[in-house]
Amino acid sequence: MNLLDIRNLSIELIHDEQNILAVDKVSLSMKEGEVRGLVGESGSGKSLLAQALVGVLDDKWHVHADRFHWRGIDLLRLSIEERKALLSRDIAMIFQEPMACLDPTTAIGEQLTEAIDSGQLSGFFWQRKQQRQAAAIKLLHKVGIKNHRSCLASYPHQLTEALCQRVMIAMALARRPILLIADEPTAAMENTNEGQIFRLLASLNQLKNMSILLISHDLENITYWTNTITVMYSGQFVEAGTTTQIFSKPLHPYTRALVDSSPSANLHLPAKSRLKTLPGSIPLLQHLPIGCRLGPRCPRAQQACVKAPSVTNFHGHKVSCHFPLTPLKSPPKKIIKGAC
């Protein structure tokens, strides 16, 4: 059974004149204990998708989906409060810019202890405070902070970014989540710290069987840590498959370009020549192209691309393209007459 199964999730920005479809029918499924990467350029709606999953988007965003199952429970049938309670119990999220995600006026200790669910504590109410404190110290040890006393007493601005991210992870662990969503957890971090954070996440995945949805714009960097990868472009689903599938046999022209644009794929290039990239840049939210949003930049685009392609499944390797690169079966023939 899938841990998480989302079909055709759309997120709309409510606007005065015209609603903007920021995320257009994205499907995502995760298995228990899986580390899935969610990759896309900045502005491709991956953070939005993650925030919609946790339910922290504000009123100006409108979310709807055809299917939203969490461990076999149909969340769309639950009321908003029940859904929120269930999700906040089982799903935790860490954000980019960890320092901005901690309340600057409250000590770390207080912020960490309030994240601990009182359902986990036993004993009478006068013992609760001590138990919370002990639990907070344990959490800090789990994420590799040894000097717990000074960490609990300090304020966010007194810690480094990497320490703040560890604290954020500790907070996320406080509810013993089944799924951890990490939204660019190492953005603006140095290489050594980046490695520490990723190793910590990997060990949590292996020791606690915690599933992780790792969001990143850097495809190359997260391949080492993920089992499966979903690629998004400009709010649309592009391709999903195992990490090796995505890397060695990308089916979508966008994924191909993404893999090619990394320096390690271009090792044979002569010095000081340009990297292979797609022409143009990601479209603005106000000027989204119709159909497949990669269309204007895609080297393989044809007339059929003015209609959004449906998802085709090649042995678990899903791709959303009219003209995939190396199709295993015969390509779906859909020619639209008179499309303009």
């Binding site: 119990r89 935790a92 810019e97 995600c101 901690l102 600057p104 409250t106 309030e114 954020m168 907070m171």
Partner: protein
């Protein structure tokens, strides 16, 4: 924290020095003789004048004159009032506490009404409650205070008869002045009618304090609303809600403190405005405070009184300003402690 305190103190001292420089220069700018402007001794005999000239060292250069002026002020000698020939410092000591009482009560009313209303408006952003509170605050801000004061007297004291219209306390009660702050004096006194006096004094202060509080309260509503909206959009609030906290927990544990930080500095700034409103209101409600006294001395061209009143009032405003700075530092860990990555 010690460095923070020392910084505020040095700021206080230098600002006061500048203010005394201003009031000292006013002695030369006002019409009339400088020594008379300084001391207020308009009926002095020639021999007394010689004594005064000696006391203020007018024969020496202007720097030493300023130094002696300063030493007079520090010793509490502010001269005589030109109008009444009474000692200004004793008058101020009796009048200033009434103003402090009135303006502080008004400030607290403005804060306790304005800030929660602003928070409420921000939480109900773009809904009916928000619009209602905003339009009310616009209305309250645009009403002139003297008109509002007269209107309040007309409705609440004359038509309805709920509150007295003038004065600080009914003349029936005899309260010995110990601290000058009336409420504390009442509580300290051993009169058998202590509680009646307390209730009477409360009834007297409610109307003027509310009239003063209206304009600052509307400003606090707007400040609180904008800062709360800003705070609710920050990523730490989003992170807190992803952590599983309820909306109430988020508001009470994180949002209120962070938005108070943004407001509290403006409270200090608004206090100067509030004291100005209080001066006008004191005239309307015949409140025996320094504002009414100062306005009367302006009418009577009482230069010594104007100078000293200016000095004392600005000193009071400045002290309140520093106090709000301390509250700011207590709320905000970023303001206290070392800056510029000193460690």
């Amino acid at each position: 924290m010690l460095v923070f305190t020392l910084r505020r103190l040095s700021l206080f001292i230098f600002t006061m020095l500048l203010l005394t420089l201003l009031s000292f220069s006013l002695n030369f700018l006002f019409p009339g003789e400088t020594i008379i402007n300084l001391t207020g001794a308009i009926n002095a005999t020639p021999s007394q004048l010689i004594e005064l000239n000696d006391a203020y060292q007018t024969h020496r250069n202007i720097f030493w004159q300023y130094i002696t002026y300063l030493s007079h002020i520090i010793n509490g000698d502010l001269g005589l009032s030109m109008a009444s020939q009474s000692d200004i410092s004793t008058e101020i000591v009796t009048l200033l506490p009434a103003t402090i009482e009135l303006s502080l009560v008004a400030l607290f009313i403005a804060m306790f009404i304005g800030i929660p209303l602003g928070f409420l408006a921000a939480i109900k952003h773009n809904k009916f409650t928000d619009n209602l509170i905003l339009s009310l605050s616009m209305l309250g801000y645009s009403i002139p205070v003297f008109w509002l004061g007269l209107l309040a007297i007309l409705t609440f004291s004359i038509s309805l008869g709920w509150f007295p219209s003038a004065g600080q306390i009914s003349l029936l009660f005899e309260i010995k002045s110990v601290t000058g702050i009336q409420f504390i004096d009442i509580l300290l006194s051993d009169s058998p009618y202590k509680w009646q006096a307390f209730i009477d004094a409360t009834a007297h202060i409610i109307l003027p304090a509310c009239v003063i509080a209206v304009a600052p309260a509307t400003i606090f509503i707007r400040l609180a609303r904008t800062s709360m909206i800003e705070v609710l959009e920050t990523s730490y609030i989003r992170a807190a809600s992803a952590k599983g906290l309820t909306f109430q927990q988020i508001i009470f544990r994180h949002a209120i403190r962070n938005s108070l930080i943004k407001i509290i500095r403006h409270v200090g700034l608004q206090f100067a405005n509030l004291v100005t409103i209080a001066m006008v209101t004191e005239v309307i409600f015949s409140w025996p405070g320094i504002g009414r006294w100062l306005i009367e001395s302006i009418y009577q061209r009482d230069y010594t009184a104007i100078e000293s009143g200016l000095l004392v009032l600005s000193c009071f405003i400045f002290i309140v300003h520093i106090l709000t700075d301390f509250i700011y530092a207590a709320l905000n860990p970023l303001a206290r402690g070392n800056k510029y990555g000193a460690r």
